[in-house]
């Protein structure tokens, strides 16, 4: 165990704990955008900036990626830190002014919508949660970043129809800004996959990854419950009876 000091409070945590985790344990709030507790720390958005004491004065680091060492002294709410957080939110607000998470964060940090920059209206803020979730949780790596610099955006390879997406919706669940859409089309309705085919319901469309799926119906209750492709892919990976996925979860229980 190691002991570190956050905002004057001593905290004892196991070695390897990040500053963010230690702060959370102590009830100290550090805002985050690209962080998710189930995913590898990324350090991209820089919103979790904190000030740590080092050899030559203090230094700004991202709390989510910085592993605490014994005796570390951390400040999470200095003027320097707060200015950085405001700046990050100002920059991102001009990217995605309509994102609720950014509006709320702006309010919490006392940021007003910056006037200097032309709004971009691109919801994807390149936080990479979908990319990591798809790789680390779902295990299919159907999406990744495309382009560099300002044009960086989460996308299926070459902006084409994703070959690997199984329509599970994990990316939708982790996306903080609502940049990823998943549409479930009911029986009797029709909808078109971006740059792709028109599907008849029941179907699911992942617009960002340009892919659509026919939905499997439960043989017991008749309700559509999962994309057929997803069930095929899962069956390949796990050894379950052939008819395991014929019924939905509710009916199985």
């Amino acid at each position: 165990m190691i002991t570190i000091t956050i905002d004057g409070k001593a905290v004892t945590v196991p070695e390897g704990t990040t500053i963010l985790e230690a702060a959370q344990q102590t009830g100290i709030w550090i805002p985050t955008l690209c962080h998710h507790e189930s995913l590898t720390p990324y350090g991209g958005c820089r919103l979790c900036a904190v000030e740590v004491a080092g050899d030559n004065g203090t230094q700004i680091v991202s709390a989510c990626t910085f592993a605490a060492v014994n005796g570390l002294v951390v400040e999470t709410a200095t003027e320097r830190v707060l200015n950085i957080r405001k700046f990050i939110i100002e920059l991102l607000l001009a990217e995605a002014p309509q994102a609720k998470v950014l509006q709320d964060m702006a309010q919490a940090l006392g940021v007003v919508q910056p006037q200097r920059f032309t709004p971009r209206n691109e919801l994807c803020i390149a936080c990479g949660q979908c990319v990591r979730a798809c790789r680390e949780i779902v295990g299919v790596s159907a999406v990744d970043f495309a382009n560099r610099g300002y044009e960086r955006i989460a996308a299926a390879p070459f902006f084409q129809r994703s070959e690997d997406c199984i329509g599970c919706g994990t990316c939708v669940a982790v996306c903080p800004t609502g940049a990823i859409t998943m549409r479930d089309i009911a029986e009797g309705e029709k909808a078109t996959v971006p740059d792709g085919e028109t599907l008849e319901g029941p179907a699911r469309i992942m617009d960002n990854w340009k892919v659509g799926f026919k939905m499997k119906r439960c043989t017991k209750c008749g309700e559509p419950f999962a994309p057929e492709f997803q069930l095929e892919q899962i069956s390949k990976k796990v050894s379950l009876p052939d008819d395991f996925f014929d019924v939905c979860r509710q009916c199985r229980m």
Binding site: R46, A49, F66, I88, L91, L92, F117, A126, R148, G149
Partner: protein
């Protein structure tokens, strides 16, 4: 040195001397990328053909770049009994004449310089070319040419002198002797200490003391450690490392072997950009040769040191020069930086302790090992020892590669070595340190160039690019140019760099287009500070530097753009209109001919006029006007 090892090296040394100093005539063609781009291949072919045709007994060789890039293709010729002579701007025809004259034992006029004795830096000797036959008294000595007088070539010691594809010539000049004696007489800790005491600081940008870095890695416990040579060199206009790799690859390999020994590594990697095909080719050949002679692999030179070297090609992204991104790239991942700590010296390539060193740093190491810490630290300034290679480019007469002792002033580099500013224009600023460096104004021209002085001036040493700018350069435009570069080279991982740098660049664009307000200057400064503080890697953190340093020294120019809507240097198109000064115009018609938009009218010998409606502000008229009558 163990008997067998020293015998082996001595044998190769002897072999190398036979081609370094042949009995016959020797002709060398500068065949680094700079020479080849200027036509060195055709010159070499012409020489080879002519030598064959004349049935001459001569050694014809490719050598690396001697630094005078603006005079390429360069041909050096040693006729027995005469000093070595260098000819510049050689055409295939001229090359034939050179051969014909050499056949008769004569020298052709027009040599740029002569060398009577070739320096052997490692041994601390010089070997003369037996140039007793006269006839070249009017040719200046190399060492006295303004371009060379103030140089001190340590990293570039062999460039232009040896055949980079022949290991025996490298060995003849003292190569691999340092390695042999380090392996035999020194311990890893001792050589690391020697390099630390020498005061060698990393030449790749950050200037971290090399020996200290090695010690950190040496003390890390691990079954495997790695040494990586950083040859990503992505700064626009910089080609120091390329030139070393093309002109003296073995110097880098020997430096890697010594560094690998010092940190306890078993494997080395050379991370080199794909855009350097010639450097890669020469490195591959060099690695084949060291393998053949037991200089890499197991039990090197009979010691217990095992070390192998692999080339790893990068796709040439600027950010891949950053240590953590470079490591990711070698691992086969996308080259994106991660936060440090952990520093690579503790946890680097595949999680093992890893040292990354720059090409020039490594090429310097064998010299330190041979000549000692004291010798090296006697060169340079208090905080910066040794010499540094600069690529001198931009608005300067002598464009080329120069290596000067630390502490040489900018004035010496630009005006003495560089020969000053072309076209009778005034010097305005010099940009140092690569894209995220800064611009230093005329008032600081006597600044001694070292790590600390440059940092204090608001710029950085960086890897050694020096871009000279004359009075016709707009400093706001310059800042915008570098930000555009960094914007396009940002990987996009972190917000301040991905979005912040772009937004700063937008403000600069507005300033150049006359659309900015005074407040934007404070905004730029604030953003610069915040990006510097919060970006993930050094690319982002230093990206605002070009703006900060130009704001510091050239604020007037920013103000003129914003308040007067004028670009004093006449560069920003939206803020200038072209006109002809009636009084000065001599009516020669050159502008009329040059104008691609038919915007110039006027009769011969009468003052011309520019139709501003048709004018596309390309500046062609201003370029060609012999009397500077085109105003902006």
């Amino acid at each position: 040195m163990k008997g067998s090892t020293s015998k082996r090296l001595a044998k190769l040394q002897k072999e190398g001397l036979t081609t370094l100093f042949p009995e016959s005539t020797k002709i060398m063609v500068g065949s680094a990328s700079c020479g080849i781009a200027a036509g060195a291949d055709a010159v070499l072919q012409a020489i080879t053909a002519e030598v064959k045709k004349k049935k001459m007994d001569a050694v014809v060789q490719k050598v690396g770049c001697i630094g005078l890039c603006y005079l390429e293709p360069l041909v050096d010729i040693i006729i027995p009994g005469r000093p070595r002579l260098t000819y510049g701007n050689v055409t295939p025809e001229k090359a034939k004449e050179l051969v014909a004259a050499a056949k008769k034992g004569k020298v052709l006029e027009g040599a740029l310089g002569k060398i009577t004795a070739e320096p052997f830096l490692i041994e601390g000797t010089a070997r003369d070319y037996n140039g007793t036959a006269g006839g070249v008294d009017d040719v200046p000595l190399y060492a006295e040419l303004p371009f060379y007088r103030k140089q001190n070539r340590i990293a570039l010691r062999n460039c232009g002198f040896i055949d980079p594809e022949n290991i025996t010539e490298y060995i003849a000049k003292g190569g691999y002797q340092s390695l042999a004696s380090v392996l035999e007489k020194s311990s890893p800790g001792r050589i690391a200490s020697d390099v630390e005491r020498a005061g060698l600081r990393g030449r790749g940008g950050a200037g971290f003391p090399t020996g200290r870095k090695w010690k950190i890695c040496l003390s890390a416990r691990s079954d495997e450690k790695y040494l990586i040579c950083n040859a990503d060199e992505g700064d626009p206009g910089a080609y120091m490392d390329r030139s070393i790799l093309e002109g003296d690859p073995h110097a880098v390999i020997e430096g890697m072997l010594i560094g690998g020994y010092a940190i306890g590594a078993t494997r080395g990697f050379i991370y080199v950009r794909d855009e350097y095909p010639l450097a890669i080719e020469r490195l591959e050949k060099a690695l084949e040769q060291v393998r053949e002679h037991g200089l890499v692999g197991e039990k090197i030179l009979g010691s217990s040191f095992n070390f192998d070297i692999t080339i790893s090609r990068g796709a040439g992204a600027f950010v891949c020069g950053e240590e953590t991104a470079l490591i990711k790239s070698i691992e086969g991942d996308c080259g994106e930086p991660r936060q440090r700590p952990p520093f690579p010296a503790e946890s680097g390539l595949w999680g093992k302790p890893t040292i990354i060193n720059n090409v020039e740093t490594l090429a310097t190491v064998p010299v330190i090992a041979a000549k000692g810490a004291k010798w090296f630290s006697s060169i340079g300034t208090d905080g910066s020892k040794g010499s540094k290679v600069f690529s001198l480019v931009g608005n300067v007469n002598n464009i080329g590669l120069v290596e000067v002792p630390m502490g040489t002033t900018l004035r010496d580099i630009i005006f003495d070595i560089g020969g000053g500013i072309p076209n009778n224009r005034a010097f305005k600023a010099v940009q140092t340190g690569g894209p995220s460096g800064g611009c230093i104004p005329e008032s600081l021209i006597d600044l001694p160039v070292d790590y600390d002085a440059l940092t204090k001036s608001g710029s950085i040493m960086g890897s050694g690019g020096l871009i000279v700018m004359d009075e016709k350069t707009c400093m706001v435009d310059v800042a915008k140019y570098f930000l555009e570069f960094l914007e396009s080279e940002s990987c996009g991982k972190c917000t301040p760099c991905r979005v912040g740098v772009k937004r700063m660049r937008e403000i600069l664009t507005d300033i150049c287009e006359g659309k900015a307000e005074l407040e934007d200057l404070t905004r730029l400064e604030d953003m610069a500070g915040l990006i510097n503080d919060s970006a993930l890697c050094a690319l982002g953190r230093t990206a605002p530097n070009p703006v900060l340093s130009t704001l510091k020294y050239f604020k007037d120019e920013y103000l003129a753009h914003i308040l007067l809507k004028k670009c004093p240097a006449g560069v920003c198109k939206d803020l200038i209109t072209f006109s002809v000064d009636k009084k000065t115009c001599i009516g020669c018609g050159a502008c009329k001919k040059a104008c691609p938009a038919d915007a110039v009218t006027g009769e011969k010998k009468k003052a011309h006029k520019i139709n501003t409606k048709k004018c596309i502000k390309c500046g062609a008229c201003r370029e060609v006007c012999p009397v500077s009558a085109v105003l902006t």
